[in-house]
Symmetry: C2
């Protein structure tokens, strides 16, 4: 286990109707906020009205900015930054899923920065200040509600880039599992895939003696594997949603990567796919992760055997590690298909004509490697994309 410092300050407020507390939670921070959301579903299902009522109860003024789309765009972030600066807003409330939250975090960074907010995503600048952010989560998936990360897509250049900073931990996140009842099946599958991917990125590490976090990750994965099919059978199963929503937050709140180094190569590769094709992040991950596993599993067969046996209850072949490892990868694919995901690029309608381009772009012309478990150069990324076709 490596040395670490861990201090996640996000206050989690979990349960039915908890969104009605949002005004009280914001009041210590601000009297005039940006209310940021997505495509308007929150106006149809009544959530918007409840949030507005809770803000008004506390006398908190707000300016609205809706319209966040999946793979949230830099142009809307810039618009939010301008609004915050022009109107002196001092808090950003995100009501939605990971895209809305990531967009809100970007706005919070930009609002206290003189230059262009994209500088933080290109690595030109390191975040030094950010407005406080709060969230009301409607989609268990990205884990952004209790994480340090934000991923934004530049509309112009098809670039999708992340930034990480302790400044981006939300002050609070309200998690009401019932807000997820109305999600379409496909979005449930994409969200579950994203959660599993966050766990697997952390799981595949070269750091030794990480038994406790291994077991916590396995426990979190098993919870997702057990409960997502329940949700797909019954969209209003509050108890199953509660398990998945809480698991999705823990999967990405940095508890499960303490003392170890995760991989994150699959996320990087996926960013190239969804940057160009605008598929959902989870949809891209469902394709990339099994292909990545097939490409790298020989690097540490023991770890893949443990994954197969402990997470997917694969019957271990004690004489043939690779057989067991491959069955684990196959079990992952079968689970993803069962929850409605495609596990090949072709299933997403993506042809093989831009694989070289994605491999080149992702590795910046083979000048950087992706991932830590096995550092991947341009040729490796290309081979993984080939396996994903």
């Amino acid at each position: 286990m490596q040395s670490f410092e861990f201090n996640n300050p996000t206050k989690i407020i979990f349960g039915l109707d908890q969104e009605n507390k949002v005004g009280k939670e914001i009041a210590p921070y601000s009297r005039k906020i940006l209310l940021h959301y997505g495509g308007g579903s929150i106006k149809m299902n009544g959530l918007y009205d409840r949030v507005v009522a809770a803000l008004k109860d506390e006398g908190i003024e707000f300016v609205e900015l809706g319209g966040v789309q999946p793979n949230p765009r830099l142009s809307l972030v810039r618009e939010g930054v301008d609004i915050c600066k022009a109107q002196g807003l001092s808090f950003v409330l995100a009501v939605g899923g990971g895209s809305v939250i990531d967009s809100a975090k970007a706005i919070a960074l930009g609002a206290l920065y003189e230059g262009d907010v994209w500088d933080f995503y290109t690595g030109k600048e390191t975040p030094a200040a950010a407005l406080p952010v709060g969230t009301i989560l409607t989609i268990p998936a990205a884990g952004s509600e209790s994480s340090t990360g934000s991923v934004i897509t530049n509309d112009d250049g098809q670039w999708k880039r992340p930034v990480n900073s302790d400044l981006l931990y939300p002050k609070f996140s309200i998690l009401n599992p019932a807000l997820a009842f109305s999600l379409p099946k496909y979005q449930i599958g994409c969200g579950a895939t994203d959660i599993l991917a966050h766990l697997m990125e952390r799981y595949f590490t070269n750091v030794e003696h990480v038994e406790f976090t291994d077991r916590l990750i396995e426990a979190t994965m098993k919870t997702v594997l057990h409960n997502v099919p329940k949700i797909l059978d019954n969209h209003t199963d509050y108890d199953a949603w509660a398990e998945v929503m809480w698991a999705g937050t823990i999967a990405h709140n940095n508890l499960l990567n303490q003392g170890r180094v995760g991989d994150w190569g699959s996320h990087d590769i996926e960013h190239e796919i969804s940057g160009i094709y605008d598929v959902a992040h989870g949809a891209g991950l469902a394709v990339v992760f099994p292909a990545w596993m097939k490409y790298v599993h020989k690097h540490d067969l023991d770890r893949f055997v443990q994954f197969a046996v402990r997470v997917f209850n694969v019957e271990q072949d004690f004489k043939d590690k690779e057989e067991t490892a491959l069955r684990g990868i196959r079990a992952l694919e079968e689970f993803l298909m069962r929850i409605g995901m495609q596990v090949r690029l072709s299933g997403l309608g993506i042809l093989d004509d831009r694989l070289h381009e994605m491999a080149r772009k992702g590795t910046q012309n083979d000048t950087i490697t992706l991932g830590n478990f096995v550092p991947l150069g341009e040729k490796d990324v290309y081979e993984i994309l080939r396996l994903a076709i």
Copy 2:
């Protein structure tokens, strides 16, 4: 799952040599502190000198108060409170195990209170303010390094009572597994028992749909079960100590009780034993917990079967739940004996002459019940103590 709010603000600083950061961590809070510790082993092993050097590096003045003993005494707490008040100290640094930390938290409460600090432990007063506390942990066991609790024993009346308040979360806790290398075998066993007990108190709940936290608790227990025997074989196994130390903190930092209601009856009963006989807390728990399980297991056989199968890998008898449940309890006893614990009061040299007295005192003459899984009256507590003889 029940609704909950979770916000543990304790910063964890984990790894070799991390105690050298203690001055820097305190500096934002205070320039003049109480340095609180136990029996002087920290002076023998060099830790005291490193802490003093780190404080001096930051120009932090300190007043010393050593002498904390297991089952920390109210008299020393009062002494610490007086020192803090008289000398205007504004931070309490605990260097030691759970007893030192609990004593430091009590001093932190008393220092900002006009009356007698014992008022918080009798329930006469609710904590409204406390000095900030930091810790350097030397014994993985009590979990007090990242918890809201403090347990103090009144020297005069043999009363051992807890208080809980969010004010008592330490600001930071430094966890260096190597600081535990010199612990004697018996203290390792007591500490491991305490950690397991914190997990089992949370595990046995009547709240339904708590799969995720069930699995996290099971993962934490399995980590302890796997690594404590390694430590007993090799006291300087850093990697095994790291697993146990981090597991011990997570076991009690409130993550694993979110959305559920723990039992805590065994802890209450144990407080009566160690209040009178001054046995180590872990030693008392090793006796009480199996007896409690034998008394209450029929209340929810399914949960005891899950415990047996998932935590202790008991081969399930699908036709006989009780058989499986009892094998799980037996497996717990066997593990405790393997790590050097006695599992009967007689093994601790305690006779059966004061069982009625403990049952009466613990239930305040049968006017309150202990525990939540099965609320226990005076007669129940007596029967459990009888089973423990």
